[in-house]
Point group: C2
Chain length 222, copies 2
Amino acid sequence: MNALLITSAEENYLKAIFKIAEKDPGAVLTNALAAEMGTSAASATDMLKRLSDKKLVVYEKYRGVKLSEAGNRIATNLIRKHRLWEVFLVDKLGFAWDEVHDFAEQLEHIQGEQLTERLDDFIGNPRFDPHGDPIPDAQGKWLRRTQTRFLTLASGQRGIITGVDDHSPGFLQYLGELGLGLGAELELLERTAYDQSSKVRIGAHHAVLSEKVGQNLFVRIL
Amino acid sequence: MNALLITSAEENYLKAIFKIAEKDPGAVLTNALAAEMGTSAASATDMLKRLSDKKLVVYEKYRGVKLSEAGNRIATNLIRKHRLWEVFLVDKLGFAWDEVHDFAEQLEHIQGEQLTERLDDFIGNPRFDPHGDPIPDAQGKWLRRTQTRFLTLASGQRGIITGVDDHSPGFLQYLGELGLGLGAELELLERTAYDQSSKVRIGAHHAVLSEKVGQNLFVRIL
DNA sequence: AAATATTTTTAGGCTTGTCTAAAAATAAAA
DNA sequence: TTTTATTTTTAGACAAGCCTAAAAATATTT
Ligand SMILES: [Mn+2]
Ligand SMILES: [Mn+2]
Ligand SMILES: [Mn+2]
Ligand SMILES: [Mn+2]
């Protein structure tokens, strides 16, 4: 049916549009896209014209861009592959959760539906990646989750880490040092009104999390 | 140290030069390279100039090309990655030996030494790929093997399949149907002088292999 | 050795994906 | 409602990889 050729660059732009719209629904502006891609606004405009020609986005000059049905499908599948490979790298090859993103950034572009599905089976059809992000299924369906930003926890409440909003190696490594991997349990002892820092108990020992850390942590309240 | 950027296209050309020189030592000619790459001679010449600028080949106009030390290192590492991924696809994901080449052709370009080494460990540091081809180690060292072309077998001799000289899905599937996977044992009952076809015994049953099949099969004589 | 055939290179062109600088459109401020 | 600032697009360039057609070099025949 649909045998049009999509380049890796086009895939990456589609994914970037998806990610921006995910956080901030509505039309994605050129500058935001260029920033996400690390390219100039002129390059983003160029690409938007190409993607529009291929009917992968709906683009209105000066007004921003949205993914079309086809574009959304491609972006979703790319994210699926990215996250499946991340699970493979962590679960099977023993990488740490802060080491896998760049590899997955390459592996997500490997073509071949059969490969994706066999990989999915091999790693046990995971629903979440090593950072707690949901993995869409082969039909592009997302699993809805109830997770709360750690900063909304009240004193005395306990939670289990279910995700992070910052995927940088620096943040992930820092969490690791604190014993805060995915699935770790912590209790909010006290939140300082002045700077929104949080005194927490993690297993046996105590720690203080800055507002920045608290903002980037998701938990399931126990 | 050596932080020059090599594109996937350049890697593929280097590998092609390596493969041609492997079968037919000496300088590789432009037409042979173009044929191997499925491009025009003009494109091959273009690429040879680029590779020469980057000191990855020693290229003399009209005389042919040879890999430099650096070029050889890159080609060898690419073949290493290609074959390691093939083992992964067959051993871990359950693909057949005729299904993996195209995936490996993509996966071989994934960058990251750590990934290659962890993959190698994960699949048990294999010395040969699913087609019986040797896998160079991380230092680029090749294991020398003694394998014989099936056609040199004399009547009454038995052998174990150790490799194939034709990697096309068609040939590999045909071998599979005959029960002739890697490691399969067969006995040459009789060779017909007229057309070099071979009557063989494979386990319990008999078969006739054409000269073409015989030419593309390698065995270790028992 | 000259003519012919083959191989290889050059010339010129095209697409993709990037850039910088300038122009145009939109939004914000005075 | 002008003026100013910001955002976005256009214009023009460039490198990588590919192509076809023509020219040049090399090899083979006669
Ligand atoms: Mn990631
Ligand atoms: Mn990517
Ligand atoms: Mn390849
Ligand atoms: Mn192989």
